[in-house]
């Protein structure tokens, strides 16, 4: 075991995957020589050579388009989009091509491909470095969408994503790269080395896609969260003094509905927290599913705490970010209903 930041864990997942399988190739903007603007691919070009880890032109549709061709050839590309905010030029390639290839030709060609991208705000990135576009991918049939919340999960889930036979969108909450973040931005960041989930095996391991993890068992209310919001939810539950069960979804699609259902049937209450904008956000899907599966167990209306339906602002970042205060208010409302 080693102490790793989320960045080091992601780098290690690349490294162990490339070592185990020579079909794995890694590329993107600034990914090769420099090792990525967040350093998630540091040292890979030096170790595996420029044919397996290289820099690309600034062209997201080119990055994903070529990766689909490589995947169809039989390689296993794992490409980086520098910020999820820049993925939209590749959206056609992802939606119309990667996600549909297996289906449209009945498996004659397939697309085992990982598209990694940092997501989320809290770094004063403004509207072009802060978005959480998970719902534009979960809405697309044929894609798996993953968002880890800690180094241990990030490494294991990325290894699984690379091994997966289908395209996987792998979203990395950049506010968590160096430590868990509870939403109190005035406080110094707690480094991963002081957190149990910063303990990461150096060698290969993988974690199954489609399995949620209960971060905090509780009896009174279920909180559904993923990425950065897992820690915000923890802080909020503590503050509110509510015995919340916090579920870290880890994979949004396929969703671990069994874990969600068991919890909500037990607690009878559900609060959904995500950083992305609210309308048609993934929380809407979660709320509907909970309603469909657990309606007769519900004691209170399902609550959503999310980013506002505005572009992610710069100066007003902390008024936008779903704070522990907003989450605890929702928890209290749920308890009082």
């Amino acid at each position: 075991m080693a102490k790793m930041t989320m960045i080091e864990a992601i780098q290690s997942a690349h490294d162990t995957s490339m070592e185990r399988d020579e079909r794995v190739v890694v590329y993107g903007e600034d990914v090769g020589f420099f090792g990525g603007v967040f350093r998630c691919t540091a040292g890979l070009q030096e170790k595996y050579g420029p044919t397996r880890c290289f820099d690309t032109p600034i062209s997201e549709s080119g990055i994903v388009g070529t990766a689909i061709g490589m995947a169809a050839y039989g390689l296993k590309p794992c490409v980086e989009i520098q910020f999820s905010d820049y993925v939209y030029p590749a959206y056609d390639q992802i939606v119309s091509e990667a996600a549909r290839l297996r289906h449209r030709c009945a498996g004659d060609f397939t697309c085992p491909l990982v598209i990694r991208m940092p997501v989320g705000g809290g770094i004063f990135g403004g509207q072009t470095h802060s978005q959480s576009p998970e719902a534009v991918f979960t809405h697309v049939c044929g894609l798996k969408t993953v968002m880890p919340s800690n180094p241990y999960d990030a490494k294991g889930l990325l290894a699984a994503a690379i091994e997966d036979p289908d395209p996987v969108i792998f979203m990395e909450p950049k506010r968590l790269y160096n430590g868990p973040f509870d939403g109190y931005h005035e406080n110094p960041v707690v480094p991963w080395r002081d957190h149990e989930l910063g303990e990461v095996p150096e060698g290969y391991y993988s974690l199954p896609l489609g399995k949620a993890e209960i971060r905090r068992p509780g009896e009174q209310v279920t909180i559904l969260a993923y990425g950065t919001m897992v820690y915000v939810a923890q802080a909020a539950a503590e503050e509110a003094g509510i015995d919340a069960e916090i579920i870290d979804l880890r994979t949004l699609l396929p969703l671990d509905m069994e874990t969600i259902k068991t919890s909500v049937i037990k607690t009878g209450r559900c609060v959904i927290v995500h950083e992305a904008t609210r309308t048609s956000g993934f929380g809407a899907e979660l709320a509907t599913l909970v309603q469909e599966e657990c309606f007769y167990s519900l004691e209170a209306p399902i609550q959503r705490v999310t980013g506002w339906d505005t572009p992610y602002p710069h100066a007003q970042e902390w008024d936008y970010f779903p704070s522990p205060v907003r989450v605890s208010r929702a928890l209290q409302q749920s308890m009082e209903a």
């Binding site: 190739v25 044919t51 397996r52 690309t56 032109p57 062209s59 549709s61 080119g62 388009g65 070529t66 990766a67 689909i68 061709g69 490589m70 169809a72 050839y73 039989g74 390689l75 590309p77 030029p89 056609d92 390639q93 119309s96 091509e97 549909r100 290839l101 297996r102 289906h103 449209r104 030709c105 009945a106 498996g107 004659d108 060609f109 397939t110 049939c141 044929g142 798996k144 036979p165 289908d166 489609g210 699609l253 396929p254 969703l255 509905m257």
Partner: protein, 410 residues
């Protein structure tokens, strides 16, 4: 007040519209045999002229002339003609089948048969095409079973795509024919990526991307050109300029100056412009580009100058936007008639043999059609199961899809 006059806005328009008399006198057609054939390792800046001329082999008199004329065995020449004839006969039957309600949609190749039929002969087993919807000649030229193509068109129980894709969106890994998407130019960067993978894997196989004149305007086309110029993978980048993108003339995608081939120069990619209605010229240029790719010399851009003599698809009526007789006036002629004339002049073909071949091919196509229709058409017979639509979204069906399939009652 500006010292300049008011600005005006330029919207290119074709010179002729319905009712006008077709006139291609402004289209410069170089003499067959006049273009030089450079060595495959030529510096792209030495051959800029080849992106503006038209490489032609077959002359008006049915002679093969010039440096690009290759000596093919008689049987291969005749086979080439027969492939084009078969594609045309196939198109005719399937157009009729669509009119009869046996399928929803069809796209024909009329006037463009030489391009895919000849190009395929430049490739080897294992190479991969990333075709658009108007390259069925790539399959026909490999004797891919027409019955399977028809099963796909009819979306019947033996459709290799299980009825999931629009008619003519074939897929065959075995025949080096990548699954057609139907989205435009998306497969151009994929062809480049496939070729990059081949080079990364130290393989010997090459790829070919295909795009039409209109869709060169898509950003994916330019992304593919950037990646091809950067990594120099073994890929042939084909642009089929058939003059029309549905109702939009090629001047809207390209503007009113330059050529599609000339765009390769900005990327440092050797670029050739070829007579797309000339089977021998297409084959010669295809072989030149393929040799460059196999020798690790990198990508080649090829523009095929042709004319879409039919409608864009069965949903299109070209008489609404261009003169009806324009196709007949097209100065590069009909690819089948030109090849036929060449073979007759060469003494290895005759009017009688041609008529006989037409009848044989019509029989072949008809018997394939009967076999396919015995299985089913879109409107009758055996269809793929509804249950099947839930398969292959993922390799393993996730719980939510299993649930939806149950809900749907399959």
């Amino acid at each position: 007040m500006s010292e300049f006059p008011p600005l005006t806005f330029n919207v290119p328009a074709p010179e002729l519209r319905p009712g006008d008399t077709p006139d291609f006198s402004g289209v410069e057609i170089p003499r067959a045999g006049s273009a030089r054939r450079p060595p495959v390792d030529v510096d792209p800046k030495e051959i800029r002229d080849l992106a503006f001329t038209i490489i032609r082999v077959l002359s008006r008199d049915g002679e093969a002339t010039g440096e690009w004329a290759v000596d093919l065995p008689d049987d291969e020449l005749i086979e080439g003609l027969r492939h084009m004839m078969r594609l045309r006969a196939f198109d005719a039957r399937m157009l009729m089948a669509q009119r009869q309600g046996k399928t929803s949609f069809y796209m024909q190749h009329l006037g463009e048969e030489a391009i895919a039929c000849a190009f395929q002969k430049a490739l080897n087993k294992g190479d991969m095409n990333f075709p658009t919807y108007r390259q069925a000649g790539l399959l026909i030229a490999q004797d891919y079973p027409m019955k399977l193509m028809m099963c796909q068109i009819y979306s019947n129980a033996e459709d290799p795509n299980h009825g999931r894709q629009l008619p003519i969106m074939y897929s065959s890994k075995e025949y080096g024919f990548f699954s057609i998407s139907g989205n435009l130019s998306t497969q151009y960067p994929q062809a480049v990526g496939w070729a990059m993978a081949s080079a990364i894997s130290n393989d010997t196989r090459i790829a070919a991307g295909w795009v039409g004149d209109g869709s060169t305007a898509e950003s994916d086309y330019h992304a593919a050109m950037v990646f091809a110029s950067t990594y120099k993978p073994p890929v042939i980048l084909n642009v089929v300029n058939n003059q029309w993108a549905i109702s939009t003339f090629q001047g809207i995608a390209k503007g009113e100056s330059g050529t599609f081939a000339a765009r390769g120069h900005g990327f440092g990619i050797p670029s050739l412009r070829v007579d797309g209605n000339d089977y021998l010229a297409v084959l010669a240029v295809g072989c030149w580009a393929a040799e460059r790719a196999r020798r690790n010399l990198g990508p080649t851009l090829v523009e095929y100058v042709t004319y879409r003599a039919g409608g864009h698809s069965t949903s299109d009526d070209p008489s609404a936007y261009r003169p009806k007789e324009e196709g007949d006036a097209w100065p590069l002629g009909d690819p089948i008639l030109r090849m036929k004339g060449y073979l007759i002049r060469k003494g290895i073909w005759s009017e009688d043999r041609h008529t006989q071949a037409e009848a044989e091919i019509a029989d072949e196509v008809l018997s394939a059609q009967k076999e396919a229709e015995a299985i089913g058409t879109l409107s009758s017979g055996s269809a793929p199961s509804a249950r099947d639509m839930f398969e292959d979204v993922f390799k393993e069906m996730p719980p939510h899809l299993i649930k939806q399939r149950q809900e749907a009652g399959f």
